[in-house]
């Protein structure tokens, strides 16, 4: 199969969905030029009426997208970086996810809006441009949350998100933009709520998110040489979360490490750990280990940033810790 990059998969998904459905349009800051390139060429193909450059008004245009979705369109909003999400929390969570996002109005209206956030720390971007705020969104019901770790999943999940009738948050890892992978040319979608086994193993389960899936696979290779067989699970969506696959794996291995590049306290890893410490307690043979970013803002200087972010070595260490 043809190989393309993660960023091209995003572009292709947007392009195909815009061709398929005239109600789909994209909006965001500098998307005609393409700040990071995901939207490159869209304005040439679809024109300025379907590719809207917005003013720097995150709360305003996220809210406008919610409104547009309530009145027949299927907007795809780009937040240039998820670090800017704090400005738009009100409209995304309070209005998008909670009000029109069915609940308050008792399912009388639907809000098929997709929020795309480029997310993560890419090196020396400093404390205000390296965020990973998806746990904050997980803490608020009403939003589906998708985090593709391969070009294949990106194309399929983004297409699914655009077709979904609920507000969906699609996380685009800034660390994966250049990643190559096999992607079919035509149409396909990847369903929400289905984790995938990236590698089978018998000793320890590693649940890994976004770019840490690759780190976990590398860690698994290293550990294999130490005689440790690691199973790597990629949940692919956090809301809904495929708890069954995680539990089944822990039932087999009895050991769990969660690798998640969001902040530790109340992060995604905390939720998965808490769930397994309840429902999977009987299977557990060892402490549940979390490998996350440390609980400080992301510093600019390279040695500092490296220290704060999770990586394959820390995953290895955590796996070894569960075997002590």
């Amino acid at each position: 199969m043809r190989e393309i990059r993660y960023i091209q998969a995003i572009n292709e998904a947007l392009r195909e969905e815009m061709r398929r459905d005239p109600r789909v349009f994209v909006l965001g800051e500098d998307i005609r030029q393409g700040a990071f390139g995901q939207t490159k060429g869209l304005v040439q193909e679809f024109g300025e009426t379907r590719v809207l450059d917005t003013p720097i008004s995150e709360n305003g245009f996220c809210g406008a997208a919610v409104g547009a979705a309530m009145n027949g369109l299927r907007p795809v909003v780009e937040l240039m970086l998820s670090s800017f999400a704090y400005l738009a929390m009100e409209q995304i969570l309070m209005e998008g996810a909670r009000m029109e996002g069915r609940y308050t109005f008792g399912s009388q209206i639907q809000v098929p809006v997709t929020f795309r956030f480029l997310t993560g720390a890419s090196g020396h971007n400093g404390p205000q441009h390296s965020d990973q705020p998806y746990p904050m969104f997980m803490n608020n019901p009403g939003l589906k949350i998708v985090l593709p770790s391969t070009p294949f999943d990106m194309k399929g999940l983004l297409k699914q998100a655009i077709r979904d009738n609920d507000p969906v948050l699609v996380l685009e890892s800034i660390n994966l933009l250049g990643k190559q992978g096999s992607v079919p040319e035509g149409d396909y979608t990847v369903p929400f709520g289905q984790a995938t086994l990236r590698k089978e193993g018998t000793d320890v389960t590693v649940v890994a998110l976004l770019h840490l899936v690759d780190a976990a696979l590398e860690a698994a290779q290293i550990l294999e040489q130490e005689g440790v067989s690691v199973e790597v699970i990629d949940p692919r969506t956090l809301v809904p979360l495929d708890r069954r696959t995680i539990l089944d794996s822990v039932a087999k291995t009895g050991r769990l490490v969660i690798a998640d590049d969001s902040h530790r306290t109340c992060g995604a890893a905390a939720e998965i750990a808490a769930g397994v410490a309840d429902e999977g307690f009987g299977f557990l043979k060892a402490p549940i280990k979390r490998v996350t970013r440390l609980d400080v803002p992301i510093p600019y200087s390279e040695p500092l940033e490296k220290y704060v972010l999770p990586n394959k070595d820390r995953i290895c260490q955590a796996v070894r810790d569960t075997l002590r």
């Binding site: 349009f25 709360n59 245009f61 809210g63 009145n71 399912s107």
Partner: protein, 338 residues
């Protein structure tokens, strides 16, 4: 305050607007009474301001949309919503306009174009711009009127939305219900401008300040704004008015005291219903029996709606878990499998 060209409604039209205003007034009276009796838990009163929603909505067509606020009963009635689901919602019943989930601050009637009431101050403004953007992009013959208060004009969302509305040239009317207070906070100590309409220049749109207690003036100004809106020219329409009741129903019970009795009395002399009634009498020779009939009909409608609410079943506890996501078993989302 700019004056719009004198408009002379015909008798039925004005009487129709009067009827809506009276419905809002009597409905609120009733709900406040129920609130005192502990039957209804929550309400944000709008008595005194009725001419704004009624005048605006009279200039809209059925396909046009509105967005409202927690102070939402007026908007609902003005846009033609049925009283039954309103009452049932206040009572938290399954038959309520939001199945009892939204409640007093979130009245909605999507079939009538009431696209929800928002309890976060300023929240409805970006939503309205988005609704209007969709109307434009889909080529609908439709405009959006967005209601909010003077206090909301200090929110960032107001600023961002008015700029977007101009940039995108969408069919929207921003209706500012300037009742001089944001909760207990006076306009003059919280807002740099004395008239909100002055802010329109910052967004290159037309701004107008009108007498919001003159239902004909509100109607007329909205009519003109609607014409502009459909050409893609938004308007900021500031309607000067006054709320008689508390910011929230129980305000005086907790000892709030920020307005003088004189001020309230002065505004009551400009009561929108009385002013419309005088015109009906003076211009059209409306008789007091006509008024009585009208009032009687409204009271019956209210009683019927109240009865409907009381008879309606409360929702079942487990229904709390429904409606959060589309076509998805909610348990799937937060519960770990047994």
């Amino acid at each position: 305050m700019s004056t719009t060209a004198a408009f002379t409604s015909d008798k039925d039209f004005l009487a129709g607007m009067y009827q809506k205003m009276l419905t809002i007034r009597l409905l609120e009276e009733k709900v406040l009474q129920l609130l005192m009796e502990g039957e209804v838990p929550d309400l944000y009163p709008c008595a005194g301001q009725e001419a704004v929603p009624v005048g605006v909505c009279a200039a809209l067509r059925p396909q046009d949309l509105i967005t409202g606020t927690y102070r939402g009963m007026g908007h609902m009635v003005a846009k033609g919503a049925d009283l039954k689901p309103i009452f049932a919602e206040l009572y938290g019943r399954k038959t309520g306009c939001c199945k009892g989930k939204g409640g007093a601050k979130h009245l909605a009637a999507f079939d009538k174009g009431v696209m929800g009431a928002y309890a976060i101050v300023g929240a409805s403004i970006p939503i309205a711009v988005g609704l209007a953007l969709a109307a434009k992009m889909l080529g609908k013959d439709q405009l959006v009127a967005c209601f909010f208060g003077d206090g909301a004009s200090n929110q960032g969302s107001f600023h961002e939305s008015l700029n977007l509305a101009f940039i995108w040239r969408v069919p929207v009317i921003f209706v500012c219900e300037n009742n001089l207070y944001a909760a207990s906070t006076p306009l003059k100590t919280s807002t740099a401008v004395d008239h909100i309409a002055k802010r329109a220049d910052g967004y290159a749109i037309k701004g107008l300040t009108i007498d919001g207690n003159d239902v004909e003036a509100v109607y007329q100004a909205t009519k003109e704004a609607a014409t502009r809106a459909l050409r893609g020219e938004p308007t900021l329409l500031e309607c000067l008015t006054y709320r008689y009741g508390g910011h929230f129903a129980a305000e005086d019970r907790i000892g709030w005291n920020y307005r003088t009795a004189e001020e309230i009395a002065r505004w009551k002399k400009q009561d929108p219903l009385e002013r419309a009634e005088i015109i009906l009498k003076d211009r059209f020779g409306w008789s007091s029996s006509e008024k009585k009939m009208l009032e009687k009909g409204i009271r019956e409608e209210i009683e019927e709606a109240l009865e409907f609410a009381r008879q309606s079943p409360p929702p079942q506890p487990l229904e709390a878990l429904e409606d959060c996501y589309f076509e998805m078993d909610h348990n799937f989302l937060w519960r770990w499998p047994e």
